[in-house]
């Protein structure tokens, strides 16, 4: 069986600087995998290479056995990889509902003329997209804000909306970039539950970047540790906790108690 995502020793250099060095990762269906590492370790660069924002300087990324290296982000989203951003990127002046509905646009089958002429096929599709978006909003408990501007939501709800929007694209693989950033322990705890639930309900595989050790240790089955662009450790949460290399990289962070 081919793995869902295979990142085959990719390297990214900016000028003389090697941001990510020979990063290797295989993710199978239904896993939750975490990527941790100090600031500037190259975590988001890995994301950007998987989602097509950057093209790796060397080697390739395979999704469902297919080479997706160098494809544009929208093509990769259509193949089934969705993501959120570390610094939330909502369509701030549009409504909460529109944000999710735009997430469904990539699956639209009706053409432009059909949409302008409001042909029956388009009308039906629009209705389905609308219902799907409403259901998603209801699921993430944002339905009551459907007609509000996305930018006016409180921070935690914005994060949830971004996840809902990513789910609207019908992904097989969901990349979450620091979903717990800026949350208090109570909120992070709820987030862990939330991620577990959506994984079950939507049947997505999850690959997340996180700073909050507790969140990562709680939720991930397997963890990779990145430092200065190099993978310094990989294993189960327990293995990672006791890995001397990791402890060195995170000097001062008490992993054992996380």
């Amino acid at each position: 069986m081919t793995s869902l995502l295979k990142v085959d020793n990719i390297t990214k250099r900016f000028g003389g600087l090697t941001a990510v060095d020979k990063f290797f990762l295989e993710i199978n269906d239904d896993e939750i995998i975490g990527l941790i590492g100090p600031n500037g370790a190259g975590k988001t660069t890995v994301y950007n290479m998987i989602t097509g924002i950057y093209t790796p300087t060397e080697n390739k990324v395979y999704f469902k056995g297919e080479d997706i290296t160098g494809l544009k982000p929208d093509k990769i989203a259509k193949k089934g990889i969705a993501r959120t951003f570390q610094n939330i990127r909502l369509l701030e002046n549009l409504t909460v509902l529109d944000n999710v509905m735009i997430g469904t646009h990539l699956r639209i089958k009706s053409g432009l003329f059909s949409a302008i002429l409001r042909l029956p096929g388009y009308k039906l599709e629009e209705k389905q997209l609308h219902e799907k978006s409403i259901a998603l909003l209801e699921r993430v408990e944002l339905l009551e804000f459907a007609n509000e501007q996305a930018g006016s939501l409180p921070y935690g709800k914005q994060r949830k909306l971004e996840i809902a929007r990513a789910l609207a694209t019908d992904p097989d693989l969901l990349l979450l970039d620091e979903p717990a950033a800026g949350m208090n322990p109570q909120e992070s705890h709820e987030l862990v539950e939330f991620i577990r639930q959506i994984k079950e309900e939507f049947g997505v595989t999850i690959f997340l970047i996180e700073h909050d050790m507790k969140v990562v240790m709680d939720i991930c089955e397997r963890i990779l540790v990145l430092d200065y662009g190099k993978t310094i450790a990989e294993g189960s949460p327990a293995e990672i906790k006791n890995n001397p290399e990791v402890i060195k990289a995170y000097l001062g962070v008490d992993l054992a108690n996380a």
């Binding site: 990127r89 469904t104 694209t169």
Partner: protein
């Protein structure tokens, strides 16, 4: 308010507009009709520019170029054959334009189509640019189109331009196309494709990450916009009956840009209002520079004074309405009734506001 009721109201309004046009065509003098026609053409041009700039967020300054393509195509397809032979003295007009003569509507649509095809050719490479760089590159293409028009006398009659374009343009055509343009662009914006355009305006990176193809949607918006700019150019040519390349300098694009921004970037209603305001103001300021006689003292004609006053008015309007007259608001029947309601029962709505 129910959907059927809104549709009924819209139909009623269109019939009313038809009656007004019928009345205006036979009762207004040529001068007033000309201003109304010009305003309606500006509305078409403004609404189409608003699609690419206001709704898609792509700073395009190429409108004059697309207008030129539409204007020349339409004109060459409707000028009678004998008139073409008279006009093209330096170099004869090339085939097939030399023999073709088509109905106005077909000529207009072909003008729009040609402009749209050019938009695809230009848009594919250039829409990768961002912000002001995109603006100057599209402006450049428009200027290149104009300079080419100046240099291909076998098609455009060069700097001498085209004369004797049949004056088909009337309020039926101009207002009819205004309604058509608004209809198409409003429906486009309110569709899934339109939401994708607005997503690009809001945040390109996010839009792309959720599967919105930037190239497809930007080029699509640019092309639709150019199509209507081409039609606007064709209508303008038949209104003026003579055109030459100087009519399509970048100042033309600036005029349309002013209409869009003064109306409110991203508001179709605002664009239409501003289009009429712009042209009526320009015309009603005309007496200022014509000189007048008060009996005891007479003022000479002062060329330029009209535009001086106009530009000062423009500055005042933009400084005091920094987001345009309408901001991003649109006219809706619901809004109209709410407004009437508020005027009728000011107290009532106040209480609603508080509760």
């Amino acid at each position: 308010m129910s959907k059927t009721k809104k549709q009924l109201l819209t139909t009623g309004a269109l019939i009313l507009l038809g009656i007004c046009i019928l009345w205006a065509q036979s009762n207004f003098n040529n001068y007033t009709l000309r201003i109304l026609n010009l305003s309606a053409i500006y509305a078409i041009l403004g609404v189409s520019l608003n699609l690419i700039f206001g709704f898609t967020g792509q700073f395009s300054l190429g409108h004059a170029g697309f207008m030129a393509i539409g204007a020349y195509t339409t004109s060459l397809l409707i000028i009678p054959k004998y008139y073409k032979e008279m006009t093209f003295l330096i170099e004869p007009l090339i085939w097939p334009f030399s023999v073709l003569q088509l109905p106005f509507i077909v000529a207009l649509l072909l003008g729009g189509l040609f402009a749209a095809i050019f938009a695809i050719i230009i848009g594919l490479p250039v829409l990768r640019l961002r912000g002001d760089y995109l603006g100057i590159a599209t402006l450049g293409f428009a200027e290149i189109i104009r300079v080419i028009a100046n240099n291909i006398p076998q098609i455009t009659n060069g700097a001498l331009g085209l004369k004797g374009i049949p004056a088909y343009t009337n309020l039926w055509w101009t207002l009819g196309f205004t309604v058509f343009t608004i209809f198409v662009i409003k429906r486009l914006i309110a569709s899934s494709y339109g939401r994708a355009l607005m997503a690009i305006r809001e945040n390109e990176i996010a839009a792309e990450a959720i599967g919105v193809s930037l190239t497809y949607h930007k080029v699509m918006s640019f092309t639709v916009s150019a199509f209507f700019a081409g039609i606007g150019g064709g209508l303008l040519a038949s209104l003026l009956t003579t055109i030459d390349p100087r009519a399509f300098m970048f100042v033309m694009t600036f005029n349309i840009l002013i209409v869009v921004v003064i109306g409110g970037l991203g508001s179709i209603t605002g664009t239409v209002i501003a289009a009429f305001l712009f042209n009526f103001m320009l015309e009603y300021l005309r007496p200022i520079e014509q000189g007048f006689d008060l009996g005891f003292i007479s003022f000479p004609e002062i060329p330029g004074l009209r535009m001086v006053t106009f530009s000062l008015a423009l500055l005042v309007v933009i400084i005091y309405n920094q987001n345009g007259l309408m901001g991003k608001l649109e006219f809706t029947w619901q809004g109209l009734f709410d407004f009437i309601d508020r005027i009728k029962n000011p107290k009532n709505s106040d209480e609603k506001g508080v509760s």
